[in-house]
Amino acid sequence: MIPLSWYLIVAAGLFSIGLFGVLARKNAIAIFMGIELMLNAVMINLLAFWRYHNPGQITGPVFVVIVFAAAAGEIAVGLAIVISAYRRNATVVADEINELKG
């Protein structure tokens, strides 16, 4: 029987690895992968608390479905921005895309 804290520790580990990925990577697409890891950690937490505290209530799974939609929307628009930035000044490195002119 797996105690609830194990799930939360795995989710915290996944979250901090994703955080490191977002902070330390140069390539914009690698930053998006880090964000995906953090979103997965959130989903593990939601479902772990739903399962261990009140499986009768449906709020946990509804939140997870909304997180799926948010993650999909975010990565779709994010990668589109990265691709069009790459097309204009031929670089995907995050800190070289810094001019905001039109």
Partner: protein, 168 residues
């Protein structure tokens, strides 16, 4: 140490190991494929949490669509110079320390909270799916987030097509 706990430890090790590889691997496509391995590990965790629907949806949406979208984006922004340069910024150790502190803080919080360990009984997941379906549509349930999610998806679709589409 029942066999369930052994399976959990193995899945957690696989997930966290491939997550570390996602963050630290040089070639972008290898990072994307390690991301798929990490997402598959998370899908197994969902199955162990008896939320079978979300394990399948995770494989369908994340591995079937988002991972392939990331691989397409990696392919579209192929740039030979990218692969040879250092993949990590100079002060990456600062980010590593910050992430480690976040992790340590969370673990201390989790252990001190002392969650009760017994597992409440659960009805079979068929009623969970039916309850989820009804909750998404009931006015007193989650009708508004359901419709707002569709408007958000429409905005994401139209916006990213407008940005990514390149008139030949």
């Amino acid at each position: 140490m029942t066999w369930m706990q052994i399976v959990f430890i193995v899945t957690a090790a696989v997930t966290l190991g491939s997550a570390v590889r996602v963050v630290s691997s040089g070639k972008m496509l290898h990072a994307a494929l390690w991301l798929v391995a990490a997402l598959f590990g998370v899908a197994i965790l969902f199955a162990m949490l008896e939320a079978g629907f979300f394990a399948v949806v995770q494989v369908l949406v994340y591995i079937g669509a988002i991972a392939i979208l990331v691989i397409f984006a990696v392919m579209l922004t192929r740039h030979v110079m990218e692969d040879t340069g250092p993949q990590v910024i100079q002060s990456w150790w600062l980010a590593a320390i910050l992430a480690a502190m976040v992790f340590a803080g969370l673990v201390v919080l989790i252990i001190s909270a002392g969650f009760k360990a017994q597992l409440p009984p659960i009805q079979d997941s068929q009623t969970m799916i039916v309850a989820l379906g009804q909750a998404l549509v009931m006015p007193d349930g989650y009708l508004l987030p359901f419709e707002v999610a569709s408007v958000m998806l429409l905005a994401a679709l139209v916006g990213s097509i407008y940005i990514a589409y390149q008139k030949r």
